[in-house]
Amino acid sequence: MLSESARAASAAEARFRINEPNSRPRAVKIIALDRPSEGIVKRLAQSSWTNATFLTALASAPPRGEPFSIQGWLSDLAGHTKDLVGEINNADQVVMIATAGEDAQAASLIGEACSMKRVMTTALVLGATSISDAALSRTLAQLRPWALMLVIASAEEYIADMLAALRA
């Protein structure tokens, strides 16, 4: 007689697995942290997603080094201002898109808000092969404290694959 494990792991038994959804859609916020990433996010937004929102954190960012207010700092791709805390409140997952060598200081504001709301953060860095290690380090140093998962990818297409894998 087959053991319980042998029977249960068979291909025949796989037919009886419950064929109902086992999760509800997750709200994923994808935020571009710099100008090159904004272009990527705009292209991503053209595809069909379940519950993904595409945002940009640079529309009204002040010059480097100057203090800035959280108000009116985040926007959607049409340029409408979005409230960061409101967006994070409705998020299950935040994905920050950064370009290696670019300023990623916006990550700290987003990360802090996510930390307060206990929202998981992922940072994705593109373009790492075309810049120096030192420049990459600077970008990573800005992201690392605020990203619970950090991915350095060579191709833009990875982001779409990752979002699909996460059911965004």
């Binding site: 087959l2 494990s5 619970l148 991915v151 990875y158």
Partner: protein
């Protein structure tokens, strides 16, 4: 979540499939050298990539790997007589050399040359590092022999075992790059297994069950870094190597040997899990070798005379609920290898990835699938050589290091992630 057509692309590796073509681009481990120890010894059946093959070592020590079945009436040549530079079918005496060429058909006149017209499909079989490697792709694309460090160090510095895993190769391999499960599934073994215990790394692991991950593409695959807090504001990093398509290397612990795996499809519902341990600079100790032979660390005990683990699905993996309740094991299954295999086999022969709910800590798995799909498509569409074939991609090491907080591990640990002759692996 992975679409079914993408999952099929990677999980189907038989002849003529895109995933099969990917695997047929590489040298892959086929048998342990010890399975064909003697000239004219018994042949060995081996199924790889959904092809039934037979391996033998002829009178001169030449290795052959060919179609298992006689071209005459389809008899398995496993029953053959291995003698006088060839394997003779016991049914009607047809004889084949190590290349699969028929060299004798007793019922036909020698002058007819009939036997010259008979040749079994065969593949090269080469011994290196205690492993017999084969290449099952197009002869004109045959790459240089593999140069994994474990296979190049002196024999006394390395140990290799293999076991059958009753699941598709991909779900097995994905376990090898899923660093976040260690703090749960294997937590009972970190401080007790003789091949793991005693390292400071275990304390970092057990103290922090929620590491932060960084996934970075490497030339041959991926670096998967898991970061935990160490002393004085520093980070303890465990950096796993994945080299395409099916090589994974686990970060070391203390001065224990470093170990890893190959996950090679037998067919679409079974795979060979190859498990190696080696030390780059010193022989393994007798105590370590004994532990490995006794199924400790990433190795297993076997059912007598087979490569099937002693704990397997037919005996419910010898699950011990009392040990689970007492915390001696997290899942109730004993041994690191079978803790992984039992769960991966429980997913079914080929897990339905359309049902899964991945989270961001699964980015290593997501990226590996992404790179595999990309490589398969490039191979099919443009005949592009996939990553992992280049010898430089194979000269890698995993590492466990403590680094300052402001340094990317790929920069700070760069020299530790490549083979350095005469230098031990970086470990904590």
């Amino acid at each position: 979540m992975l679409k079914k057509e993408q999952s099929d692309l990677l999980t189907q590796t038989g002849p003529g499939t895109p995933g099969g073509r990917l695997f047929r681009s590489y040298w892959i481990p086929a048998l342990l050298a010890s399975e064909l120890a003697d000239n004219d010894g018994p042949p060995a059946r081996v199924k790889l990539l959904s092809e039934r093959l037979l391996a033998f070592r002829d009178s001169q020590g030449r290795l052959g790997l060919m179609d298992e079945f006689c071209a005459h009436r389809g008899v398995s040549l496993w029953f053959g007589r291995n003698e006088e530079n060839g394997l003779r079918c016991p049914y009607h005496g047809w004889k084949y050399d190590h290349t699969g060429q028929c060299i004798e058909v007793p019922s036909e006149p020698v002058e007819s040359g009939f036997c010259n017209k008979i040749k079994l499909k065969s593949y090269p079989l080469v011994e290196r590092g205690g492993v017999l490697w084969t290449y099952m792709g197009r002869p004109d694309k045959q790459p240089p022999l593999p140069e994994w460090e474990f296979a190049l160090v002196p024999a006394e510095q390395s140990f290799m075992s293999k076991r059958i895993q009753e699941s598709n190769w991909l779900q097995a391999m994905e376990g090898g790059i899923d660093s976040s499960h260690v703090s749960f599934l294997h937590r009972g073994d970190l401080n007790s297994d003789p091949l793991f215990k005693g390292s400071k790394a275990n304390q970092y692991n057990l103290r922090d069950s929620r590491p932060v991950f960084e996934v970075v593409e490497s030339p041959g695959g991926l670096y998967i870094g898991a970061r935990r807090d160490a002393e004085n504001g520093n980070y303890y990093w465990r950096i796993t190597q994945w080299v395409m398509p099916a090589f994974t290397m686990i970060p070391p612990r203390g001065d224990h040997p470093v170990h890893g795996h190959f996950w090679i499809p037998i067919d679409d519902e079974n795979c060979w899990t190859w498990s190696f341990d080696y030390h780059p600079t010193r022989p393994l100790t007798q105590e370590q070798l004994r532990a490995m032979r006794e199924g400790k660390g990433i190795h297993v005990k076997y059912q007598r005379g087979t490569f099937r683990p002693l704990a397997n699905k037919d005996n419910d993996y010898l699950i011990d609920r009392a040990a689970q309740k007492a915390g001696r094991t997290f899942s109730g299954v004993k041994g690191i290898a079978m803790q992984d295999a039992s769960l991966q086999e429980s997913m079914g022969p080929i897990v339905d990835r359309t049902k899964e709910n991945l989270v961001s800590t699964d980015n290593g798995i997501i990226m590996a699938r992404h790179r595999l799909v990309r490589a398969v498509k490039a191979l099919m569409d443009k005949d592009t050589m996939p990553p992992g074939i280049d010898i430089a991609h194979q000269r890698v090491r995993s590492a466990a290091v403590v680094l300052p907080p402001d340094k990317p591990f790929i920069e700070a640990a760069k020299e530790h992630l490549a083979v350095r002759a005469g230098v031990a692996h970086a470990s904590v």
